[in-house]
Amino acid sequence: MSLLDYLLQPEVAIPGFLGGLLTAEEYNRLSDIGEEALVGTTVRGREVPGALDIAQMGLDQTQFRPFTVTTATGGQFGTQIDPTTGQFTTTLGLSPQEQAMQQQLFGGAGQFFEQAQQPTTGREQEIFERLRAVQTPEEQRQRLALEERLASQGRLGVQTAQFGGTPEQLALAKAQEEAQNTAAVQAMQQAQVEQMQQAQLGQQYLGASYLPQAQLLAATQPSQQLAEFQSGLQQYGAGLFGETAMSGLEQQLLMERARANLLGQVGGRMLDKAFTVPEGGGSGGNILEDIIGGARGMFDNTREFFGGLFD
């Protein structure tokens, strides 16, 4: 008997044909299982995400979520992510009163620094003139008194090489010149002190101008901790979700692979039986039915598992 005749024998052709079908089915199923593990599937009407979806969902779930902090004085701290570039930005917004105060302080600081940078000559002159304005009336009185005294003594017209005028006039002029010199030195010192004060005031104003901002940042600290805590929880949940989803997929993959292996084993046995001449000349039809029935039960169990997972 030829091979073809042999293959066309019922007891050979049927098991062989069935075995081949089962094997092909098992092959195809393995291919589908891998694909569904990646892209997802639908179980009992529910879409079950694949590994890629789960990864995307995990990525989405673990992304930073912008938040805004508003202080009691109206200041706001905000975070933004550019949807296009993904660039992370933060914004600090002060209340109008705080902004006004900040601008005022900034302006004051600028003025103080500007004044501190100015040459002290002009200020020295101003201070000197004010000091002289205080001293001049008394000096004028003293000068007039001396003039009257000299006039009564007939000495108004005295000019000497030694003193210039009279000794009294020299003494008075010397005292007044010393007062002027002292005033000049005092004016220089005062101008320098004021310059230092302006620089210090500038620094104080500048520091104070950042105070609303610093307070706003300080006010965001608890919120930032909460955001970090939330982000941690989010990351933990996403991780848990991914791990769970992936473990289900792995479980289904294992079961599907087991079913495919079982189906393959059945198909293999059938093919093997088909190509193996029984000693009794007959076939055992109950075994094929059992194999086919077992494989169907395996697929049913897998669907139930994924359906329960995404409910």
Partner: protein, 507 residues
């Protein structure tokens, strides 16, 4: 019945000097109406002044001009030198006058004032740079050329200079009529350094404005004479701190060359006559007394007509202060030994003397400048020539101006006047036509013990006294008696004049 002669003895007539201020009728016979070329001698009599003996033998540098000022320079080493000015020159010497004018120094005026100061003699005249001489340099030089001197432009070109309180003081500068400058201490050529200085008293004048004429130093004060006011500063030893002590308004000084020191006073000529500071320490003030009260109008008249120099000198040896109106050739001689009842000095007048300057040397010699050079006030001739002594009494009424007086005799008693011709004059009732009786005094040469005894003359006890009795004529209610004599080598003093007259009826 013959009437009794009434004798009126004019003892020491005119011993109070000239008085032209009081009414002639009311005057004391002790005054004189005229006392020319006279002095009050040591016994209080009116007498002829001394003459002058010219000591200059060579006055070529003086030419026909007169000596306008004389000063004896003397330094601490005892060197002396007589300087004078005249003929627009600085002159030295007394016998032979030498030109001491610095080279390239042109002088066109002779109104110099010279002062001794710290071994130097300084010459000041308005608008001229001052000159200086010292023994070491040996020549008169411009002050600015002295080592360490101020620049010529800084040295005051003053007309008045005073050496006092260790400094030179100067004033009366063109365009600076109220400024007094003083030099550095003991450095007469430094007017800009050290303790030199100046004071402008234009605001001090009691009358609001005046011009400085002269300066004087007295009892620690600097006395500044204006034309019609006086300012005195106390503490001039330190001029920077000297203070005004007193001011006098209405009395000033006519000319710087009228100021003389008498030791206790400062004499000066004001527009109303000769004045002095009689200072009382207790009052600390300067009362001014008039010293020419007996000839006030004469002085004022002379002042108003004078257009030349004033010159003066004080001679303690002779006891007079001479004040000469050079332009009028009149000198008033004030006897400083005492004053009359009105506080005035006894004064006589010297006329036509030709005296143009004076100075008193350290030894007391009085040098006189004339056109003949330098003379000494000595002898009784003016350079060998006689001069006329005149005395005229005030109008005498003998106590009753209503009765006629008929002069019978005049008996003058003269002292000295050897061989002099004496003219005794009298006039009545204020007439200027005098009757004259002339007589010649005999030989009055004195013979001193051990000198002339047994030789030329008879031994005498000093100046001889001569008494003459002359008959007088005429009559009138008032009588002026005069005596004139040419003084030609001998002194003449008028001891007394005994006037004998008959008192007539009432008019």
């Amino acid at each position: 019945m013959a009437q009794e002669l009434k004798s009126i003895n004019l003892v020491a007539p005119a011993f109070k000097g000239v008085n032209t201020e009081d009414s002639p009728l009311a005057q004391d016979p002790s005054f004189a109406e005229i006392a020319d070329n006279a002095v009050i001698d040591k016994r209080g009599r009116i007498a002829a002044r001394k003459g002058h003996t010219v000591v200059t033998t060579n006055k070529t540098v003086l030419g026909s001009d007169s000596i306008r000022s004389i000063k004896e320079f003397k330094d601490n080493a005892g060197n002396t030198k007589v300087f004078s000015v005249g003929n627009n020159k600085i002159i030295s010497g007394t016998t032979t006058l030498a030109d001491e004018t610095p080279g390239s120094y042109t002088i066109t005026a002779d109104n110099w004032k010279m002062v001794n100061f710290n071994d130097k003699i300084y010459f000041f005249q308005r608008a001229y740079e001052p000159l200086v001489y010292d023994t070491t340099g040996g020549s008169v030089v411009k002050l600015s050329t002295v080592t360490g001197a101020s620049a010529a432009g800084d040295i005051p070109k003053a007309n008045e200079v005073l050496s006092a309180y260790g400094r030179l003081w100067c004033a009366d500068i063109a365009n600076e009529k109220s400024v007094v400058y003083w030099s550095d201490l003991l450095i007469g050529h430094d007017w800009t350094g050290g303790t030199s200085g100046s004071i402008d008293i234009s605001k001090v004048w009691p009358d609001g404005y005046d011009e400085i004429v002269s300066l004087a130093a007295h009892n620690g004060m600097l006395i500044i004479f204006g034309k019609h006011s006086i300012v005195a500063y106390q503490g001039a030893e330190a001029p920077a701190t000297m203070v005004l002590a007193d001011t006098v308004a209405g009395v000033g000084c006519v000319d710087r060359d009228t100021v003389q020191y008498t030791g206790t006073d400062v004499l000066f000529l004001s527009h109303t006559g000769l004045k002095s500071f009689g200072r009382t320490i207790q009052e600390k003030s300067l009362p001014i007394s008039s010293l020419s009260g007996n000839i006030t109008k004469d002085i004022i008249a002379a002042l108003q007509t004078e257009n030349n120099f004033f010159r003066s000198v004080y001679s303690p040896e002779e006891g007079f202060y001479l004040l000469t109106f050079v332009g009028q050739d009149v000198t008033y001689c004030f006897d400083v030994r005492g004053t009359t009842e009105n506080g005035s000095y006894r004064v006589t007048r010297w006329v036509s003397t030709g005296f143009t300057s004076y100075t008193r040397k350290e030894d007391g010699t009085l040098l006189i400048g004339t056109s003949k050079g330098i003379s000494e006030y000595d002898g009784y001739q003016d350079d060998g020539s006689p001069y006329r002594f005149k005395y005229y009494s005030p109008s005498l009424t003998f106590g009753d101006s209503s009765r006629i007086k008929i002069l019978k005799k005049l008996k003058p008693t003269l002292v000295g006047a050897n061989n002099a011709t004496v003219f005794l004059k009298w006039a009545y009732d204020f007439k200027s036509s005098y009757a004259t009786a002339e007589f010649t005094v005999g030989d009055q040469i004195t013979g001193f013990f051990g000198v002339s005894e047994f030789t030329a003359v008879e031994f005498t006890g000093g100046a001889l006294t001569n008494q003459k009795s002359l008959n007088a004529t005429g009559y009138g209610t008032s009588i002026v008696v005069g005596l004139e004599a040419d003084i030609d080598g001998s002194q003449l003093s008028l001891q007394e004049i005994n006037v004998m007259a008959l008192i007539g009826k009432l008019l």
